[in-house]
Structure formats: C-alpha cells, structure tokens
Symmetry: C2
Subunit: 280 residues, 2 copies
C-alpha cells in the first residue's frame, strides 16, 4: 500500500520507519533536509514539499502536525486530496481538534482521529525509532462520519506498527484520561526539575528514581505548551486531584502519622501493581 | 578481605553479591531462609543468625538495617564486635541516625555513615542485583570521630562496587539534598498513582512517561514511611518548593499564558540536560 506522512518529525518519521517494512512511504514536509535524510536512510521512498505532487501518490495519510497547525493544513490541502482518502490525525488532544476542524459535509475524504501513546524526548526525524510503538497503547476517537472501513484500516495499521491495546473512546473521554496519564505526568516531572535547590550539583546525588521521573522534562516546549492549553479544563482538574493527595502526604508527614503514610503507600502500590500485571 | 553484612535484604544482598567477586562475605540475619538462599547462590560464604559467631569472622561490616532498627542492633552487638571493626551504615537518612546513635567515647569500633543511592522496587535477597551500583552515586557522611583509614576503606569498597561519584557531606547537607532527589521524588510518584481517576482501565492509556514516573510507587511502605518521617523538616520544605512550581503551572494553564508555560519548560529542560551531560 502507498502511505503518506505529513510532517516528518519524530512521530511522522517513526511511523514511516515502522510501516516502511510492508508499504511504500511518501512524505510531505517543508524541510528539505528532513526529506533527504529520510530518503537516504530508506525510511521513505520519496519526499515532497508540494502538496499536489504528494497527494497524487497517496490515499492513506498520517497527519503528524501539532494540533493547532491542522486546520490551516487541511484548508490548504483539500484541493489536492484524492477522493476516498483516509487522513489519520495523531495528536495528543482530541476535543479541540474535533471542534477546530470543520470537515465539510460533502468532504471527499475521511478524517480519523487517533492517538498513538508513544514518543521520545527528542525532536526531528533523525531520532525516529519504530520500536517506540511496540506494545504501546493506541486510541481511536471515531466520529459519526467515519466509515467503518477507515476505522478498520487504521486498526490494522496500528497492529502492524506493534501497538498492543487499541481502544476506541470519545474525544471527551480521551482528553480526560490523557490529562491524567500524560499531561499531569509531564507537569509533575517539569515542576520537580524546576524546584531543584540552588547551588547543589544535583547529578552527584540522584538515583534511578530521580532520573526516571525527570526524563520527560527534557521537553519540546512548543508542542507541550499547546497540548496543555488545548486540554485545559481536564488538566486543571487532574492537577487539583493530585494536589489533594500531595497535601495528604504533607499532613501525614507533618503529624508523624506513620500509619496514614503506610495506608497511602499501600494504596499506590496496589494500583501500580495492577498495571504491571496487566502488561505481562 | 572478610566482609560482613548485617541484614541480608535487597541492599545487603546486592552489596554481598557485588563484593563477593573479590572478598569473602559473611552475613548475619534472623531469617534462616535468606541466609541459606545466599549461601546456595554463592552471594555469601556463610550465614549466621547469632552475633557472636558472626563477629568472629569480620572486622568490616555493612549494617543494612532500617534506620530505626540500628540503635537496638548496636546495643545488642557491641559485646561481640572485635576491636578496630569498621561498621558501615547505609540508610537513606543521616541526621536522625547520627543523633539516635550514641557511639560511646571509648568505643572500640568505628561507625561510618554512608548512603549508596541505588535500589529496586523489590524486597529481599532474592532480588539482589550488584549492577544497581554501577555508575551510581555514593555519599559518605563523616563524623569527627571517624578514622581517616576507615573513610578511605569505605571509599575503596564503594569504587569496587562500581559507584561513580563518591561525595562527602555533612548529615544536614545530605538530608536536605536527599529530601529533594529521593524522598520528594517518591512522594510525587505515589500521589500521582493515588490520584488515579476511578473506573478507568489506566493501563490501556499509558505511555513510557507514566510507567517511568510511577515505577517507584511500588514501594516498601515500612522502609519509606520511616525515611519520610526521619527527614521530616527537609522533606516538608521540598514539598512546599515543589508546590510553588506546581501552582505556577496551574496558573499559567488557567490564564492561557503560553509564553509563561514555555519559559518554565525551557528552565526545566536546561536543568535536566545539565544532569544528562554530566553523566556521559
């Protein structure tokens, strides 16, 4: 099958690398050097920086753009999209994408929203790595307009890429969950690093725990500031829920309530172990 | 050299495994099955559950007990400790250990406080793993009473175990730093898991970020509730400093302050990258 990638960054590049085993991959990007790099390393067959040439080759296209860039891309691309094309969007928020993208009633393409829950703390196609998808989670957010054939195509491709759990959710349910599993997680990692005490050479006193908790603070601030704001309400709620528990720890510590601390710790351990067992 | 291990759990077992390459290891523990397991797997040469027999073999001893168990152990052990023995304590807090342990003026042994900053989310000698020390950090908290020869012995053994940065700190400085790099880190991981939304099968919607941030929530609550309380003031201060930044994120998100968010993120990324570069 011919598969198109719009936006050949870390995610677009990783999808290209993963699917290039069984498919012919074409990419559209304005960065010529990203296209040439991907051609030379065999991640893609051919790269284009103009839309008309690109869309002549592909009817299945992964749109790997930041959420706020999608509407203007669609507007520009529509004239060149072939009838029956399936566009697969992959960003980390869904409610605002859904409301900002007005796919016209008479649209000759199908726009499918997905979220491959995987990534790296790196930017650009040079860090593309197909293995980030292995055993990872994948969410599809179908709309009433999506054709069953498009949804099953997306599911098949996600399986080919190595994703394990493929779940269908509404945009609202997706955003509520991701506010917790992904965005809150990033906020905590960031604030932990921000709150580093002054005048200490921290790296001499850290263990794997600190290293693991702060890895994701090496963040792409352009993407993530957008993701946080595009999912504002849900994220604020999750910050407040976290805050409640942080204050329970604070109080238990202040009051020397060792039994209270242990009870909180056991609750956390059991919840976390349930995830571990679910992944064996 | 003959080396003794008191308390053959995860840490004691890992130290034994690591040093058994070049030394003869004897262990003291009340759990017979832990001793037999360690003998059978060659981690130790011989295990004892009575102190007099144990201390006949060793004059260099790692004391791998929870902080609050150390004073009563010392009291019981003192009659059996040979003259000139070096006792090396390894717990994660220092100020309260220092104040709770009254090494008598005329003591015939040297008591050296250290903190090997390494571990696993497991309990018991069966999970011992020497490799947790490779390239890890090690802190020595010398007192005025410690002999230079004891300190340099400890340093040599830490190097043999594979530790990279070996730093000397006061008890207060150690506890202030560890409240941040280790204890706060555990509080955040725990509270994140505690705040899991109800009725969601979280494991289907997580990525590596959540997995990494929550790994250490599979905690040994008996050890860690003690560590939190033994370093209460410093930990409360670090929770409050973290809280300040969490609220900055909250405010920036609420006010759609994308530039403010980016600035916080860049600050975190640069701080975290400095650690990464320091570890290459």
């Amino acid at each position: 099958m011919n598969i198109g990638i719009v936006g050949l960054g870390l995610m677009g590049g990783s999808i290209a690398q993963s699917l290039s085993k069984n498919h012919t991959i074409y990419a559209y990007d304005l960065q010529e050097d990203a296209l040439r790099y991907a051609e030379e390393t065999g991640i893609i067959t051919q790269g284009f920086s103009n839309l008309s040439a690109f869309f002549q080759h592909v009817k299945v296209v992964f749109v790997c753009l930041y959420p706020r860039a999608i509407p203007s891309f669609l507007e520009e691309a529509t004239p060149w999209i072939q009838k029956g094309t399936v566009l697969i969007e992959i960003s980390g928020v869904k409610t605002t994408v859904q409301s900002s993208i007005q796919v016209p009633e008479e649209a000759h393409y199908d726009f499918v929203m997905t979220h491959p829950i995987a990534g790296r703390e790196k930017i650009g196609v040079r860090y593309a790595k197909a293995s980030i998808f292995e055993k990872a989670n994948f969410v599809i957010v179908p709309t009433e307009r999506n054709l069953p054939s498009s949804l099953s195509l997306v599911e098949t491709l996600a399986q080919e890429m190595g994703f394990r759990n493929i779940t269908k959710l509404t945009a609202k349910a997706h955003d509520d969950i991701i506010a917790y599993t992904s965005q809150l997680t990033h906020v905590l990692s960031l604030a932990l690093v921000n709150s580093e005490p002054d005048q200490i050479d921290v790296k001499k006193f850290i263990g794997d725990s600190y290293r693991d908790l702060t890895r994701i603070s090496m963040i792409n601030e352009i993407l993530w500031s957008e993701l946080f704001l595009e999912n504002k309400q849900a994220l604020l709620e999750r910050i407040d829920a976290f805050e409640t528990y942080l204050q329970r720890y604070r109080k238990a510590i202040e009051e020397n309530d060792i039994e209270g601390l242990k009870a909180l710790m056991v609750d956390a351990r059991l919840k976390r172990l349930a995830i571990e067992e679910g992944n064996q």
